[in-house]
Symmetry: C2
DNA sequence: GCTATCTAATTGCATATGCAAATAGCAAGC
DNA sequence: GCTTGCTATTTGCATATGCAATTAGATAGC
């Protein structure tokens, strides 16, 4: 094995060559073989290794760069990009960042934690099998002392075993997961619900007041990583996005 | 002027040639000079007209195709694409389609209409100048007879003068606008609110029940087109989306 | 040590060329 | 009329080539 990651690039013979190259590199990035910051071999090296022309390699790399997976600079070369911190509208956002961007002080407290197989209600809420070991966390995030959002989360220990030994004292679970696990797909759902008695108390709002519920589930290559329900007091939060008729602007 | 739109393509000399071509064609599409279905001149024609090589023209067209602005087929040529009916998550969606996709019958009724300069509350709600003439519509959309969503909308007559003569009897205003106006940018915001007395009655829910409020404003080249507030009964609606760490999957 | 300069590595862009694949429209044959 | 096949048009892909722009790192000079 050479010291660069050159040998890891393998074509599968399906479809156009430039696209084989694109997918090969994309997969290395998405499955974590090449982590952010890793430098991608220069065009000449890939060209020789793969027996393609430089323009063909170039085309694959240009496209990956436009997709945001890599960044390229003349002379410095090509490196794997860091996933952007946030997306258009809704995403894996860091709640500490979210709060600080509003100019407020951030704090959080873990209200409860349970490790092991899920209780019946938790399994139902997150659509889990009762045999899967998880960490179940309830966290309250505070913005300058005021309740900001209530978070209920499960982390799949089969996929992220390190979570079992993590006390989540220095940072909330969402941020810890961003640093200590990979994800390749997420699904989120937005709805409006009324605050229950306990929720209202924890959020310092009236019972039955409208809240925005963000539910998000995350996978890495079909293995579930985490699922979370974020309950925002309705009056104080909006999610905003911009786009054009053919997609993001 | 030739019968094709060839003459309309003009480069601005700024940046790479392929990108000049790309932007030139993109602008013709976005500003409505080339409407969906219009056929784009073949690569050879553009190449001669612009004095660029075919590969350079090709690169611009390939990129536009990937962005979804045009569709290309061998031998048939290149045509301007229709904007996709819906986006990842939230967008200018057609409420009739939304209802029918759920397998329900669709109907709508206009609850009120007022043309002319906006009343004070309407102007405040939509952040309008009181001197701008608008159409103000309140519409209820029904799904198999049940209230589905409540829509309150203003249409800017300066931008869409035809709206003044349109009774909106055969289709709701949102769908009519999709067919009779252009838009280049939209902004939406999502929040949770409690139903007011009148809203609750119209949606057949209890007063104070949580609702999902979608607010959307649309522009065409900085001219405001329309603004709408859609109030969905919270319990019956969710907005769902999927994505990966680097963007849409 | 510090700075200015040079060199070479690397990506960016454009061209010219050739062939492959798809297919619209026409022509020929039945 | 219907089908079958041909042909020319158009896009898709890959290569080879050359030069431009950027800049990290080495070198030379002070």
């Amino acid at each position: 094995m050479s010291d660069s990651g050159l040998d890891a690039v393998k074509l599968d013979g399906a479809g156009p060559v430039y696209d084989q190259i694109r997918r090969a590199i994309r997969d290395l990035v998405l499955n974590g073989t090449w982590t952010p910051g890793t430098s991608v071999p220069p065009e000449h090296a890939l060209m020789e290794r793969l027996g393609a022309s430089r323009m063909t390699v170039h085309r694959a790399l240009v496209q990956l760069a436009r997709e945001g997976l890599i960044t390229r600079r003349r002379r410095s070369g090509t490196v794997v990009a860091s996933p952007p911190a946030s997306h258009a509208m809704l995403d894996i956002l860091s709640i500490p960042d979210e709060v600080r961007q509003l100019g407020q002080d951030y704090a959080f407290e873990i209200l409860s934690r349970r490790d092991g197989k899920p209780a019946a209600e938790v399994a139902a809420l997150f659509e889990l099998k009762r045999s899967e070991p998880i960490v179940h966390l309830v966290t309250r995030h505070l913005s300058s002392g005021q309740p900001h959002v209530l978070e209920e989360r499960v982390i799949h220990l089969a996929t992220v075993p390190a979570a079992a030994d993590e006390p989540f004292e220095t940072m909330p679970a969402g941020d810890w997961l961003l640093q200590h696990s990979l994800w390749s797909q997420a699904e989120h759902a937005l709805s409006a619900v009324a605050a229950g008695a306990r929720e209202a108390e924890l959020l310092a709002i009236g019972r039955g007041e409208p809240c925005l519920l963000v539910e998000r589930r995350t996978w890495n290559q079909s293995a579930p990583v985490t699922a979370v329900r974020l309950l925002y007091p309705g009056g104080r939060h909006r999610f905003v996005g911009r786009f054009g008729p053919y997609g993001q602007v």
